[in-house]
């Protein structure tokens, strides 16, 4: 479903991603881990062109991203994204947050958009918050709304950029539960995370990035038990 070929990204003279190639299959859940500054988030943001790659090619569902700059917003509608800091629209209610993009970007009928939105709020356990404004929600609730908002577009693929890093510890679980459910439902997911336990339990595959290089990838069991590279071993020693 996602095919990344020799992806590199420079910020000025600073090489943040170096020659990354990988494949992600439909239905696969991939966790991207690595030290901060390793380029994890930049890699993820390249997948929906929030960052423009300096070189290399990204293909999603057969469409070459960098070659289709003009229809990028059509492609982005197929790719949900969840941010570390939620980025809910503060001037809209929770329900409006969920309905906005389907209405304005996809041309869904208002009635259908609302039904879908309420259904999704129910799914993330926030049906009673439909009329609330984002500022009145807790961090965990905001992130669940953000996930529901992305799902409202019925994407084929979901990207998560450190979805629990800005949360108070007691709220991490409720967000991870929602993500677990989503993984079980067969959604293709790419998750940048510091939650090693979650990566180990939910991911089908782990990518380990360091200094912009894809150092190692593999199944979580073998990766966490027996990392092949010294750098991964070193990193895991520090975080586990």
């Amino acid at each position: 479903m996602i095919d990344v070929q020799a992806l590199s990204k420079k910020f000025g003279d600073n090489l943040v991603l170096s020659d990354i190639s990988t494949n992600i299959q439909k239905g696969e859940v991939v966790a991207i881990i690595g030290p901060s500054g390793s380029g994890k988030s930049t890699f993820l943001r390249c997948l929906n062109l929030l960052e423009t790659p300096t070189s290399g090619a990204i293909e999603i569902s057969g469409k070459n991203l960098t070659a289709s700059r003009k229809e990028i917003h059509k492609i982005r509608q197929q790719i949900g994204m969840v941010f570390q800091h939620f980025h809910l629209f503060p001037h809209m209610t929770v329900l409006e947050n969920l309905m906005y993009a389907p209405l304005k970007a996809k041309g869904v009928k208002k009635y259908d958009a609302e039904e879908k939105a309420r259904q999704l709020l129910d799914r993330v356990g926030l049906a009673q918050k439909a009329a609330a404004y984002p500022n009145s929600l807790s961090g965990g609730q905001k992130q669940r709304v953000a996930i529901a908002r992305a799902l409202a577009m019925e994407p084929e693929l979901m990207l998560f950029d450190e979805p629990t890093s800005a949360l108070d510890p007691e709220m991490v679980k409720e967000v991870l539960e929602v993500m677990k459910d989503l993984a079980k439902s067969g959604m293709t997911m790419v998750i940048v995370t510091h939650e090693m336990g979650f990566a180990r339990e939910v991911a089908d595959r782990v990518l380990f990035l360091d200094h912009g290089i894809l150092v190692e990838e593999g199944e979580p069991e073998s990766f966490f038990k027996n990392p092949a590279s010294a750098r991964a071993r070193d990193f895991l020693d520090k975080v586990l």
Binding site: N48, L50, H73, K74, I75, R76, Q77, Q78, I79, G80, M81, F83, H85, H87, L88, F89, P90, H91, M92, Y100, A101, K104, A105, K106, Y133, P134, N135, R149, A150, M153
Partner: protein, 219 residues
């Protein structure tokens, strides 16, 4: 003390009529300035270099020269160059609208840039087209931040509107001068319209506060 307000009483209806005359062109000038100012602000933050260059040059010219000069140039040069006999009313709307749009565009630009960049990214990630994103996500949030600055600009415009008296437009200020010339007493009519200007500005201030409160509902 040689103050005698009873003398201006017969002239009060004439001066009060000036409120409507002033408000009429101020209203249209604010509309023109706001629309043009928004467009210029979008040019300034956009990626098209010629448009950015145009908006910057425009702002530089209209902020860099006196408003009264711009008003005179529009009022006197248009008939001379085109033969079209432009009315003081239309000249006033144009001069104030064009001038104000330069200031408003700077206010809006700053407001847009102060909106959290994550809002833009969230809208982009959802595949929302640029126009809809600006209209529904970015501008409403920018507007909330810049409302006090915007109200300030509208208040300035309302007060500075008095300089249209120089092209013979019968606004509040001009009417005070006419009455003053008639009575050979200037202080009383000037004080009277001064009070009216103050009331107009207070009205604007109250409206601004009300709008601000409404926009704060989501906090």
């Amino acid at each position: 003390m040689n103050l005698d307000f009873s003398q201006i009483v017969p002239y009060i209806p004439f001066m009060l009529e000036g409120i409507w005359v002033t408000l009429k062109f101020v209203f249209f000038a604010i509309i023109l300035g706001s629309i043009l100012g928004t467009v210029l602000a979008l040019f300034k933050i956009g990626s098209a270099k010629p448009l950015r260059w145009f908006a910057d040059a425009y702002t530089s010219i209209f902020r860099g020269t006196p408003l009264i000069l711009q008003l005179m140039i529009i009022y006197y040069s248009i008939p001379q160059l085109t033969g079209y006999d432009i009315s003081p009313f239309l000249s006033a709307i144009l001069a104030f609208g064009l001038n104000s749009s330069a200031y408003i565009s700077e206010i809006i630009r700053a407001g847009i840039q102060a909106v959290d960049k994550g809002q833009l990214e969230a809208a982009q990630a959802l595949g929302v087209p640029y126009g809809a994103m600006m209209k529904d996500i970015i501008l409403p949030q920018a507007l909330k931040n810049i409302l006090p600055a915007l109200m300030n600009e509208f208040i300035t415009l309302t007060k500075e509107s008095a300089i249209v008296s120089t092209i013979g437009y019968l606004d509040l200020m001009r009417r005070a001068q006419v009455v003053g010339a008639d009575l050979f007493r200037n202080f009383e009519p000037l004080l009277f319209v001064g009070l009216i200007y103050w009331c107009l500005v207070m009205g604007l201030t109250v409206i601004g506060r009300m709008v601000e409160r409404r926009l704060k509902l989501s906090d």
